[in-house]
Symmetry: C2
Subunit: 68 residues, 2 copies
DNA sequence: GTGTGACTTCGAGTCCGTC
DNA sequence: GGACGGACTCGAAGTCACA
């Protein structure tokens, strides 16, 4: 399993933990809903800026997304 | 100071700590030497795969690059 | 509420050189 | 050893219609 897939799983995990939908996360992070979907399914090689946008939107420290 | 600049500073800090040049880091990570330079100077929005390549090359856990 | 294919634009990433 | 520049390719970023 590669980095993108691991990260995507983490995003989904933390998002569900916070009880938000992909749609709300999209709004909170100012990213597209379908883009979030792709990320969670390990299809996108996200940039550091996107990583931080998502972390902020989920009010979760960036490091938690890399604990795998 | 934005995310890219913070990350770049961290890369430089850890690289120097390990006593390697930008050129050797470029070799170790299979990235271009000018790209490493740009990253350290906060000019590039690196992808998650690149982040892991650099972390591996410096034999340093990814999370350490985000302790700022 | 989520997944997918298709699409365009701009920057990620490479390679050359110079200072 | 490192910064910077031009020129290049390919993929990240961002959006849409449809399922």
């Amino acid at each position: 399993m590669d980095v993108k897939a691991e990260y995507g799983k983490k995003v989904r995990e933390i998002r569900k933990l916070k009880g938000v939908s992909q749609e709300s996360l999209a709004d909170l992070s100012a990213l597209d809903r379908t883009y979030i979907s792709d990320i969670e399914n390990g299809k996108r090689n996200v940039s550091i800026e996107t990583i931080f946008k998502i972390a902020e939107a989920l009010k979760t420290p960036v490091v938690e997304f890399f604990e795998f």
